[in-house]
């Protein structure tokens, strides 16, 4: 086969190839490669713009690993690292949301009927709502009226266009995400004037009234029920893990981390119940140890832990299984054991971005809004349409329920997509949080929303300690690199078939 460029000597071909490459590679070298090398150098110096600038030229000193050791002895840095990881807890929710949205969207009838008619109808409805708006003075009823009209409009348009309107609407928050939407959300979260708290107040009042009307059993019954639910879900996940032991592609490491992750919400639930943290931690540690021993010294007939190709990757199943647990965990952390007592006294909506404990969940909530209809949803949609229909036909013949169809066909078939999304999400999550922190909270309150990227910005551009900032950036790079390696090691088989 004569391919292009096979003429001429290897040398000539190399020359031609490089000439085409040159503009891009040169720019890349100048603005990425050179800074990369410089960054590595700076991380080992004491470069501080207060002492090394155009007015004061002290010579840079090589300080070895001092910057790195400062970082890890600095409680703030560990705090910010913890913040970064906390923010990434939103990832399973985002993945679950994207998958859910994709599943819903594929279920809508795909036959577009009279596309043009749909748009005309939708436009008419929108115009109608606009007219209502102009009339003004209709009060709160007008809002509901407009919402109703909009809902009807999107319903009609959705049915008639085969769901693509919904896809567009779901995708919009992601596409527009940026400083503008962050500013918008800052206003939405405003505790006095924002619509979120305005909407939340009556709900909470109603809730408090309900709490007051039920007997005192409630005050210990609710946490207990939540803890039992969480335990149940955990046990169920453990059982599932055991079921999928052999085709779990992620191997022993993933299993052990998964178990440790499972233990975490339990710890919080125990704390919520008012047990001492030491006891809770002890229990969790014992559980993890037992699980680890069981895995490492498991009977031979259970087969290898790291194993086969297809099927469910355990850590992802765990991540999604964690969703209900994390939900409980969020509730538990937010209100703690005082919830029932507080509810009796009357609940007030949180001060969102101004509150140390609520600022992170608030930003995560906004992130979720932007992440559900993201590229991940599009990838899931593509993944769903690539599942061979024969699989479902076979399952139907075996009389599988829709839940079984999901667990045994859809979910394993989507595993490569989920893996790709998860890994990319982790890599970008580690680097994220700067824009939200800068626009919405300035990293506060009390450093609650300062992530690694915001810390690097502060050190690099405000306090001017370039050595520390570069060292922090390299710590970040190391984390990303390790995760990319894991991706390459475990993801390659299933994701790049």
């Amino acid at each position: 086969m004569s391919t292009l460029g096979h003429r001429g000597s290897p040398r000539r071909r190399l020359f031609a190839g490089l000439v085409f490459l040159l503009p891009n590679i040169l720019g890349f070298a100048a603005f990425t490669l050179v800074p990369l090398v410089m960054s590595f150098g700076i991380a080992f110096t004491d470069w501080d713009t207060l002492r090394h600038n155009i007015f004061r030229r002290e010579s840079l000193r090589f300080v070895g690993f001092e910057n790195f050791s400062w970082l890890f002895h600095h409680p703030d840095f560990l705090h910010y690292l913890g913040n970064t990881f906390f923010m990434m807890l939103g990832l399973p929710f985002a993945i679950a949301g994207s998958l859910g949205a994709a599943l819903l969207l594929t279920r809508v009838s795909h036959r577009p009927v009279a596309r043009r008619g749909a748009f005309i109808v939708a436009t008419l409805l929108l115009t109608g709502s606009g007219l209502l708006l102009r009339m003004g003075g209709m009060g709160q009823a007008g809002v509901w009226c407009i919402f109703g009209v909009l809902a009807a409009g999107s319903l009609v348009a959705g049915v008639l266009t085969g769901g693509s309107v919904y896809r567009t609407l779901f995708y919009l928050p992601n596409f527009t995400a940026g400083v503008a939407t962050f500013v918008l959300w800052k206003k939405l979260y405003n505790p006095q004037t924002g619509p979120i708290n305005a909407g939340l107040a009556p709900v909470l009042d109603g809730f408090a009234a309900v709490v007051r009307s039920v007997p005192a059993v409630f005050s210990w019954g609710l946490p207990l029920a939540c803890a039992l639910l969480a335990t149940g879900v955990s046990l169920w996940q453990l059982w599932r893990l055991r079921q999928h032991w052999d085709d779990a592609s992620a191997g022993a490491v993933a299993v052990i981390t998964g178990l440790a992750m499972l233990a975490l919400p339990q710890v919080f639930q125990l704390r919520w119940l008012g047990l001492s943290p030491g006891l809770a931690l002890g229990l969790a540690a014992a559980g993890v140890t037992v699980a680890a021993v069981v895995i490492l010294r498991r009977p031979r007939r259970w087969g290898p832990v790291c194993a086969l190709d297809t099927g469910l990757s355990a850590e992802i199943a765990l991540a999604l299984g964690l969703v209900p647990l994390l939900l409980l965990f969020a509730v538990g952390v937010a209100w703690g054991p005082e919830l029932p007592a507080a509810a009796v006294a009357g609940l007030t909506p949180p001060n969102w971005l101004g509150d140390y404990d609520w600022a992170k969940p608030a930003i995560m909530g906004m992130g979720l809004w932007a992440a559900i209809g993201s590229n991940n949803m599009i990838l899931y949609l593509a993944g769903l349409s690539n599942i061979p229909p024969e699989l479902y036909e076979a399952a139907d013949m075996d009389g599988a329920s829709s839940l079984q169809r999901f667990w045994h066909i859809t979910w394993p078939q989507l595993a490569p997509v989920t893996f790709f999304i998860g890994v990319m999400g982790i890599i970008y999550g580690l680097q994220g949080g700067f824009e939200m922190a800068r626009v919405m909270t300035m990293g506060g309150p009390a450093g609650s929303t300062t992530t690694l990227s915001y810390f690097i910005y502060i050190e690099g551009f405000e306090t001017g300690r370039l050595g520390y900032a570069s060292a922090a950036a390299w710590v970040l790079f190391a984390l990303v690199f390790i995760l990319s390696l894991l991706n390459f090691r475990f993801g390659n088989r299933s994701a790049n078939d």
């Binding site: 004569s2 292009l4 460029g5 190399l14 085409f20 490459l21 040159l22 503009p23 891009n24 590679i25 720019g27 990425t32 800074p35 990369l36 410089m38 960054s39 819903l104 969207l105 594929t106 279920r107 809508v108 009838s109 795909h110 003004g136 003075g137 209709m138 009060g139 709160q140 007008g142 919402f147 909009l150 319903l155 959705g158 309107v165 919904y166 919009l172 596409f175 527009t176 995400a177 940026g178 503008a180 939407t181 918008l184 939405l188 619509p195 209809g373 599009i378 949609l381 349409s385 690539n386 790709f420 580690l430 680097q431 626009v439 690097i456 910005y457 551009f461 950036a473 390299w474 990303v480």
Partner: protein, 280 residues
């Protein structure tokens, strides 16, 4: 998935009215913030703190007012121009590199490609500080060039276009070569026109990404009249954040064009996402 596959297992329409209703409610939740934004942008200052969603009377004058408070058009123009230059450079150099990686056979090509691809994993934060110092040395701080250059080169565009060019039949450029076309002619006259959808996709991605970019302009730009829109909006928020109604008018003016662009170009975008994601 521009059009859902015909053989999709879910095609059997089990979509009852309940499903449509659920989807409609969910999509309303997704756009509710935008609705609030739009409604608030028509309020007066006194009304802007009310829980009431509707303005008492529609105040169109908020929009001209924004132009008086901040140089909004100037910010927008800055963003448009900077993103435009980045896009032109990015698309052109990426197309050249992608041609080299997909059509020319040279020793070590694939190894170089995967090495280059690996740099996509590089966190931008690592190079941020030295790049800024580089810009200080090159005297490019507070210039448009300083915004454009660092953003204009990278592996992503090359990767995306290579994926696209791999799908163009070889027979076409072989025929051109037999007719005696030079490599440049093959690139310019054969491959480039055939790659148009890919180029458009990359252009949209690059343009949108840079139109929204915030971190780099924030540290690079010192003079207000050179701020791109995101930095300008943040500036507006910190300076006049109490004027929620004006702020929302400005936010509306920055978001609505994006919505329009998205609705118009979603087919290309979705194809690009799948090209860059699934086959990665």
């Amino acid at each position: 998935m521009t059009e859902p596959a015909r053989n999709s297992p879910y095609q059997a329409p089990r979509s009852g009215p309940g499903l449509s209703l659920l989807l409609a409610v969910l999509s309303l939740l997704m756009i509710a913030p935008f609705v609030w934004m739009l409604l608030t942008s028509f309020k007066s200052l006194a009304e802007s703190g009310d829980p009431e969603w509707l303005p008492g009377a529609v105040r169109w004058s908020n929009y001209p007012e924004v132009f008086k408070v901040i140089p909004f058009l100037r910010f927008a123009a800055n963003s448009l121009v900077v993103a435009g230059w980045v896009t032109i450079l990015q698309v052109f150099t990426s197309a050249l590199a992608a041609f080299s990686f997909s059509r020319l056979e040279w020793p070590g090509r694939d190894r170089v490609f995967f090495l280059y691809l690996g740099t996509m994993m590089l966190p931008g934060l690592v190079t941020l500080i030295p790049t800024f110092q580089l810009m200080v040395r090159l005297d490019l701080v507070d210039t448009y060039a300083g915004l454009v250059l660092p953003a204009a080169f990278g592996a992503f565009g090359t990767f995306l276009l290579r994926q696209f060019m791999m799908g163009i039949p070889r027979a076409l450029d072989e025929a051109a070569e037999i007719d005696g076309a030079s490599k440049w002619q093959i690139f310019w006259d054969v491959i480039l026109p055939l790659s148009r959808p890919g180029l458009v996709t990359l252009a949209i991605f690059t343009y949108m990404g840079n139109f929204q970019s915030f971190f780099w302009p924030l540290v690079m730009m010192k003079s207000v009249d050179k701020f791109p829109l995101p930095v300008g909006l943040m500036f507006f928020d910190t300076e006049h954040g109490q004027a929620t109604h004006l702020l929302m008018a400005a936010v509306t003016m920055s978001v609505v064009p994006l919505i329009i662009i998205f609705v118009l170009l979603q087919k290309q975008l979705i194809r690009g996402i799948q090209l860059g994601g699934v086959k990665g």
